[in-house]
């Protein structure tokens, strides 16, 4: 616990330096207990900086990323997009497998292994997902989740440029995977980095295209788009880490809280 805190502190240092430029949010006065509980639960001391980055992301999305994703959807038929998605998922399987193993998820590791075997051979390099109809559904794992399983705390909420909602722990996971990807390393060895860049670009397009309707819907219905995304991301992430098994901490629901206000506030935040 202490060690992980220290790691996080070290990771947070450069971010805090950046935050000094943009300014931190002001915490509520200590005597307002409920406001303090809310502040801790929202876990976003860098909010002014994060909101500035979010504004940048929205501009980049509006003028470049979203039009590209919409163009991709318009130009490429659904069949083609599914093939691309399958190939990208297959390319990711070495990392998914490694993370399954590192998390001690034997069953899921075996699933990932056989999926990659089947799809690479019978599925022609991942072109066709033959494993899902065969009863082995895909799942995602990343190094941020592995760190979480190992007990590393998430740290404060962080809005990354282009990459979007994150936190120091998941940022470390993201960077680590960029350097550790076996396929990219192999391409670099052969001097074919352009293949890795193509893959990166396609991954971005595939992700954004998949989120076109969802994000539009959230933006359409929310009063504060940033706050909605922050809440959704953090809740979804904590469920992903538990591989959807829930367990342990309870998510409070209206009308179900046995003890009053105090417990209501300490929701899924770790």
């Amino acid at each position: 616990m202490n060690a992980s805190r220290r790691t996080i502190a070290r990771l947070v240092a450069p971010v805090l330096a950046l935050a000094l430029v943009a300014g931190c949010a002001t915490p509520p006065p200590a005597d307002d207990k409920e406001a303090v509980a809310e502040w801790e639960q929202v876990n976003d001391p860098l909010e002014p900086m994060n909101r500035a980055v979010f504004d940048f992301n929205r501009a980049a999305d509006k003028y470049a990323i979203k039009p590209a994703a919409e163009g991709y959807r318009a130009v490429m038929p659904k069949f083609g997009r599914e093939r691309v998605h399958n190939i990208l998922t297959n390319l990711n399987s070495p990392l998914t497998f490694a993370n399954d193993v590192l998390q001690g998820e034997t069953d899921r590791a075996v699933q990932t292994f056989f999926r990659a075997m089947l799809n690479t051979t019978f599925g022609l390099g991942g072109f066709i997902d033959v494993a899902t109809p065969a009863g082995i559904p895909p799942h995602e794992e990343d190094f941020g989740q592995t760190l979480a399983v190992w007990g590393v705390g998430e740290g404060p909420f962080l809005m990354l440029p282009i990459f979007g909602p994150s936190n120091p722990r998941d940022t470390v996971g993201l960077v680590a995977e960029m350097f550790a990807d076996p396929f990219d390393l192999a391409m670099a060895n052969m001097g074919k980095e352009y293949i890795s860049y193509t893959r990166m670009g396609l991954t971005g397009l595939d992700k954004r295209e998949g989120l076109l309707d969802t994000l539009d819907e959230i933006e359409r219905t929310s009063l504060d788009y940033y706050a909605s995304l922050r809440s959704l991301y953090r809740q979804h992430r904590s469920s992903e880490i538990k591989n959807g098994r829930g367990g342990g901490e309870k998510i409070p629901a209206p009308g179900l809280s046995r003890t009053s206000k105090g417990e209501e506030l300490s929701q899924s935040a770790q």
Binding site: S238, P254, G255, K261
Partner: protein
């Protein structure tokens, strides 16, 4: 027992379109309640031959009967609920109902397309009931839903919907708290933002129907 319940669910599910009056016996089963709720909502939003005004009215009546919006609203406002005047509380609940109904009408319309909603499990959890279900999509991983139900005096009512681990009630709560904070802790600021949003969503809804 398991199979009989499943058969009952399937049976009720297949007659959803015809069942205008809720069957008292079916209401008691949480799984049937959820599949009936989702089924009727999709049915209402995709039914042909009724005007949009009537469609929306039907959806609102059903949705507000099955979902305990005042209870959710109180939770969403949290500590600010107690600070609010009775008039503000009433204004908030009214605006909240409007936003939630406008939001979910569109979502059920989309779900009613080529998606299938399947109820998988029901369990009691503390003071309430949690029903798990899945929205299955073609060649994509299904979306996992959890419906939190509360047993009222007469029948079951929804108090939260958890989509892929994200609770709608908590999301609203976090979001609205941020809006109140941005308005210097004033609930009137939130109410103003909600009214603007409602007007925006209503005019967008009308625009969409005209375009179709």
């Amino acid at each position: 027992m398991m199979t009989r319940r499943f058969l009952l669910a399937a049976l009720v599910g297949s007659f959803l379109g015809l069942a205008f009056t809720p069957i008292a016996a079916a209401e008691a089963d949480p799984k049937v309640f959820v599949s009936q709720l989702a089924g009727t909502a999709m049915e209402t939003m995709t039914a042909k031959g009724i005007s949009d005004a009537e469609r929306n009215q039907r959806f609102r009546t059903q949705f507000t009967t099955d979902v305990d919006l005042p209870e959710i609203g109180k939770f969403v406002l949290g500590r600010h609920w107690r600070a609010a005047t009775p008039e503000q509380q009433q204004d908030f609940l009214k605006a909240f109902e409007e936003i939630v109904v406008l939001t979910w009408a569109t979502r059920f319309k989309d779900y009613g397309g080529d998606l299938r909603h399947v109820v998988t499990n029901a369990a009691t959890d503390g003071g309430g009931i949690v029903v798990e279900s899945k929205v299955e999509r073609d060649r994509q991983t299904p979306i996992n839903l959890q419906w939190k139900l509360k047993k009222g005096e007469a029948d079951l009512r929804v108090v939260d919907l958890v989509v892929e681990g994200a609770s709608m009630a908590i999301t609203y709560r976090n979001e609205y708290a941020a809006v109140i904070q941005a308005n210097g802790g004033k609930i009137d600021g939130l109410l103003g933002a909600m009214r603007t949003k409602i007007a925006e969503m209503q005019s967008a809804g009308k625009g969409a129907t005209k375009a179709n």
